[in-house]
């Protein structure tokens, strides 16, 4: 495995840093292409792992190759050939070997076209997010194969044990192989449906990192970054889809506030009390531009609407000068497009700011009468806020108590308890939005 992937500039680049960068930037592309060539997830993953192991010594010894991705591709392919020669249990082994050897003999010119690798990555995304896999498996597989996250990190992020997560991944890969989940971008008639599925997996990864307060903060931040990376990749691969842009814009705009959401003591800071100088202006700028591009396509969707709402919050110089009327209208449009109690509660909150707490309470009334929402914590938290602002301290007290009972998240619960305490103590200590 000495000559692969072009020339060298010995000693010019730090091999450890180069390897870390290659792992981040090249691994998914190399893996995606190799999966297409060998037709087997597990075998391809093992061979790519081999290639990175080989790089540790080879790059240290010979210097970092000029084209690390090409080097890894060729090395991984040769390792796959070695593995296939040893592993007699793989079905169609003979055909796969012949195909790999053929590709290898043709050298890499035809293979390192960037567009081919990009197509492979898109195939990989659609396969990992195939609806025939259970949702947690889709999420884990996407993070494992497209992101650079290891099984242990994914397990930690989703608060399950490493063996449990390992089994989940193994089972998903076995199902892809045995049930023959195709490795391709779905045909046009299935594409809109399947793309929606892919976007929801990416957003779920983001939300897992963004909203939950339990678990390792560092790993959670990594989930947000991975989701944004996937979003950016999808934007590059499918630049004409406004919802792909909308989702990525939404994640960027939310993520811009990540640093301001938790204070140094680890306490949750609500939007209206955040230190706006902590917001990431680079992300806001990028997200806003992306959203504008999406909106120009004139095909609205739920992610674009949510991104527009997030943008309005960020544009306001402070909480009091937020365009709540516009936000309420966007929630109304969102409710028509994808009806959900979450949207209705948010709309009531926005209307409560735009037209006064009584108007908000009126909108909330049907949700409060819905027995399915009896245990929906955000409903009771929003109810409490509106009642307090309407001056109904006794009812607000009851709603806070109910919201606190239902809160599964310690940071959020602490915040609600603080508000209840302020209400009982006359509410003068801190201004409440």
């Amino acid at each position: 495995m000495t000559e692969a992937g072009g020339g060298r500039r010995a000693g010019a680049v730090d091999p450890v840093a180069a390897l870390a960068r290659a792992f981040r930037e090249e691994r998914a592309g190399v893996l995606a292409t190799l999966i297409r060539h060998v037709g087997d997830f597990q075998l391809a993953e093992d061979a790519v792992q081999d290639a990175f192991m080989a790089a540790v010594t080879a790059w240290e010894r010979d210097g970092v190759p000029a084209n690390p991705g090409g080097w890894l591709m060729v090395t991984a392919r040769r390792r796959a050939i070695d593995r296939l020669r040893r592993e007699r249990s793989v079905s169609d082994r003979v055909e796969r070997l012949a195909e790999l050897v053929r590709i290898d003999s043709q050298e890499h010119e035809m293979e390192d076209e960037d567009s081919a690798i990009e197509d492979d990555r898109l195939r990989l995304i659609f396969t990992c997010c195939h609806p025939a896999l259970e949702l947690p498996a889709r999420v884990a597989l996407t993070l494992r194969t497209l992101g650079g996250l290891g099984t242990r990190e994914i397990a930690r992020a989703f608060l399950v044990s490493e063996p449990t997560m390992g089994k989940r991944l193994v089972r998903a890969k076995r199902k892809i192989a045995e049930a023959r989940i195709p490795y391709r971008v779905p045909p046009d008639e299935e594409l809109p449906d399947r793309l929606r599925g892919v976007l929801s997996v990416v957003y779920l990864i983001f939300n897992e990192g963004y909203s939950a307060a339990e678990g390792d903060l560092l790993v959670r931040g990594e989930l947000c970054s991975e989701a944004i990376r996937l979003g950016r990749l999808l934007c590059r691969l499918m630049p004409d889809d406004p919802e792909v842009l909308g989702l990525t814009a939404l994640m960027l705009l939310h993520d811009a506030r990540r640093g301001a959401r938790v204070d140094p003591q680890g306490r949750y800071t609500p939007l209206d009390e955040q230190d706006r100088s902590l917001w990431d202006q680079g992300r806001i700028h990028e997200g806003t531009r992306m959203l504008e591009r999406a909106l120009r396509m004139r095909r609205p969707g739920k992610y674009q609407l949510q991104a527009a709402i997030a943008a309005l919050h960020l544009e306001a110089p402070d909480a009091d000068r937020t365009d709540w009327r516009q936000i309420a209208l966007l929630y109304e449009a969102l409710g028509r497009l994808s009806p959900s109690p979450v949207v209705e509660v948010n709309r009531a909150v926005a209307v409560g700011f735009a037209d006064g707490p009584e108007a908000g309470l009126e909108l909330l009334a049907p949700q409060l009468g819905d027995p399915r929402l009896e245990h929906y914590q955000p409903l009771h938290a929003a109810h409490a806020e509106l009642l307090r602002r309407a001056g109904d301290a006794a009812e607000a007290d009851r709603a806070y108590v109910r919201a606190i009972e239902l809160s599964a998240n310690s940071v959020e619960r602490a915040e609600l308890e603080r508000r209840l305490e302020a209400l009982r103590g006359g509410g003068a200590r801190r201004r409440l939005g």
Binding site: S91, V94, H130, A132, E178, R180, P182
Partner: protein, 129 residues
């Protein structure tokens, strides 16, 4: 070519529901015809009602025969198809055309290829097309 079994499940219908299901009969015929035109139907049948099923077990050399199905469940296996499809997506597309998917469900299971079966040897497979 990989094979899939489509297992057709539904619960026991009440009288009004029976009529609705019978109305779908032409669509079953149409589906079977389409499968045959595509040349991918290996087999496919409707099963007799579950109340005429007999279940047999051999334990310690003793044969035990029981009147009734293997398990009493709400959803009952009422029929099946065996299809040759290129991949799961193709099998799922056909499954979606089975009328029973609208009131029951279709389980799509890959059939394990038997490497000892002459039909599955690479040379034979190539000849078969």
């Amino acid at each position: 070519m990989p094979k899939y079994m489509l297992l057709l499940y539904a619960d026991q219908p009440d009288e009004a529901e029976v009529q609705r299901r019978e109305a779908a009969f032409p669509r079953w015929v149409e589906l079977t015809q389409s499968l045959d035109e595509a040349g991918i139907r290996v087999a496919g049948d409707r099963l007799a009602d579950v109340d005429v099923a007999t279940t047999l077990r051999v334990r310690d050399g003793e044969t035990e025969i029981v009147d009734g199905p293997f398990a009493t469940t709400k959803e009952i296996l009422g029929g099946y198809y065996i299809l040759e499809c290129g991949d799961l997506d193709e099998a799922l597309k056909w499954a979606a055309r089975a009328p029973i998917a609208e009131w029951g469900s279709v389980e799509v299971r890959p059939i394990v290829e038997n490497p000892l079966d002459p039909a599955n040897r690479p040379a034979a497979a190539q000849q078969a097309g």
